[in-house]
Amino acid sequence: MKKKVLLIGWDAADWNIIDPLLKAGRLPALEKLIKGGVRGNLSTMNPPYSPMLWTSVATGKTPDKHGILGFIELDTHNQLVRPVTVAHRKVKALWNIFHNQGMKSNMIGWWPSHPAEPIDGVIVSDLFPKPIGSIGKPWPVTKGSVHPSSLTKKIEDLRVHPEEITAAHILPFIPDAAKIDEKDQSGLKGFSKIMAHNASIHACSTWAMENSEWDFMGIYYDMIDHFCHGFMKFHPPKLTAVPQKQYDMYKSVVDSAYMFQDMMLERTLKLAGEDTLVIVMSDHGYVSDQNRILVMPDIHAAPALEHREFGMFVMNGPGVKKGQTIYGTTLLDIAPTILNYFDLPVGRDMDGRSMSDAFDSMNSCKFIESWETVEGDFAVHQKEIASDPLSEQAAMEQLIELGYIDKPDTNIEKAIHQTKCDLRFNLARVYLGKRDYEESEKILLELLKEDVNITPFLTDLIHICIVQKKFKEASSYLAQLRKLEPKSLNKTKLAEAKILFGEGLVKQGRQILEEVSKRPAMAGTAHHELGKLFMRLQEYDKALVHLKKAIEINPESAKYQHALSVAYLRLKQPEESLDHSLKSIELVRYFPDAHYTIGEALELMGDLEGAKQAYATSEALQPKIKKATIAKENIVHQQEGEHKTIREMSQFPEITIVSGLPRSGTSMMMQMLSEGGITPLVDGVRKDDESNPKGYFEYEKTKGLHKNSDWLDEAEGKVLKVVAQLLKFLPRDFRYKVVFMTRDLDEVLASQQTMLKKGTASPKEGVKQSFEAELKKLDDWCDKEPGIQLLKVSYSDVVDAPAKEVDRIQEFLEVNLDQQKMINQVEASLYRNRKFKI
């Protein structure tokens, strides 16, 4: 049997609209596909701009790799702003690969696909149906929009002109359209354009299916997205701010768009035949609840704010499972799945993976380093095809009408400059979405120098600097943003709080947090941020309140679900934690942190085998982050390591650390371990004095641990002193055994005062509380870090009963120590500032 794949794109289709329609029996064609196949969410990417996303669908690669970065572009001579074309696509699409492999493809209306590439098959580009002028006037076919061009004459009559759209087409969508005032009829013109475009695309697709042989066929419809942008605000349930008259007039447009799309699907499926693998999918969803935006803010590509993070997919055909839901799929998985289905290798440079779990039987996935380096004919354009200003103008006008782009400046130089900046900004946001902060920051810093509105760049830079713990820079960008846009003060309060926490100004940060948390109505993102900040303060109950609210607003946010899962875990409620982390990976499979949290919860529940598997998944998804590997080793050690120390089993070298608050006996412990036989990593820069007559046992580089830890391999197999506050900066490249010295805090403070030669003067207010908070955080940090083993040793116990404590230390460190020499180092006379209990 010859394998065939039909890929149908429904831009912005969303299960939240589809499911009620399915229930009402109003999408029979889609229902049939779902019943005989699989369905699922499809996670989108940021920024969710359709031409970027559909190119990712066709290439399996992220936009930084494929080069399509927005709705518009500059021509290759940088002299013209035009709608996006394939000219800037840097990588091969599926149809190029199939051409090289001797297969036939038909691509109809793909966005972008203009100018049509010379493949073996038929391409009708997205610019083919663009209307020019009134009906009856000459309407030449856009040059380069049909391949092979000899087909142009055969299909040019399949273009439907917007003026051909009649009441018979409009009334099923807007039953009372006749009552619309003449002055309000511009909406109907837009409606007709969308209908005509999609009818044209559909007609070309049915023609191609009937008149050509094909192995792969892709059809792209923008109808649902465009109707949603125009009419979603009128979709039920009625939003309070929408006037009743308008609501009544337009409330069924969105549902009708889906139903008409389903009618077209029925025809397409009939022509495709039973033995075709059919995929119906969208690139993103569309907000349809109370969070719909009635008045778009004046920002770049604002309508995309209504794009929801999950699109949908349905797959049906030979070998596909029946009646199942597939979880954790992204739109990057479509191209690898299709290649795999055709038994062609998937490029290792592709960012998705084959959805083999959607099939009962599937070829094992073959790989190739990259299709980009394969020599041969891939039918890519060798030279640029001249622009067609008239159809480009029509396409530009529609993008402006939809609000996706601003009207370009009449000064062409200004327009070109603005477009260049917009595209660079989009690239920066792609990197930001991929968490490549360095690349994103580099572009944003360049953009700051440009003569354009820099406020969006500043907003992203603040975020990047906070993530990278560059709080000084973040603070400076925040000040700049507030100066340029005073209205941003309220919106940036949480960023300010994060910066304050980062700088250690907990009190001021908390003040802002409390203030913000009292706001009556907040977006899900604000509740999420608040929740995370309260977690940072270890106030998990408060964190729970906000994270639950965030989930109430958007239960389909994987990151909200994960944050709540972590909060439950820290509250030692592993069942609840597991529930939410499982929800998060149902939404987004590629979520290493969520898999890790599942491991932590299962470990806490005693399911070591399950925890090991979860850690292994986390490790596989993100090998660079080593905590999953370490956590997995810990379990293997628990299960199999009866006769081996973890040091012997681990792939990570071990470092012994002595830590504690200053003046808690850390120098004494360093000296004891040194005499016991562990080499200390010291440099002698800090000389002994009357406070520490036997020396400080310090290493200068340790002070800069929060900035640079590259030198830490010097400490391998040795003992290093690290002050308590810096422990959290220990990198995950090692395992650590931490001997943590504890001492009564009043004694610590008194000793510090003596050392600072302040005699009996009281220490600064709040120092004790700050130390208490620091110590409270320690247990949490230990819980979170699988590579840390920590033994608390009381200074007074060491002085009072050194032999017993030395024994404990030896058992903990699992090394042979010269215990007597260690005991000899303890001098009770040096235990000054002792608080005697009566």
Binding site: I155, D157, L158, V160, E164, T166, A167, A168, H169, P172, M195, A199, H202, A203, C204, S205, T206, W207, E210, F260, M263, M264, E266, R267, T268
Partner: protein, 50 residues
Amino acid sequence: MKQESSQKKGVPFDIPLSGSLGLLALGDRGIRAWRKVKEEEKANKKASEK
């Protein structure tokens, strides 16, 4: 106006002069059949005006 659809096989159905969503959903055949009806109507109108 009752016209036979241009499907090779199948049940004949009405092709209204004003078109329909069903015709658009049928694709190339639907559009061409609708255009044919429109052309014929135009020609009839012209003929009756003469």
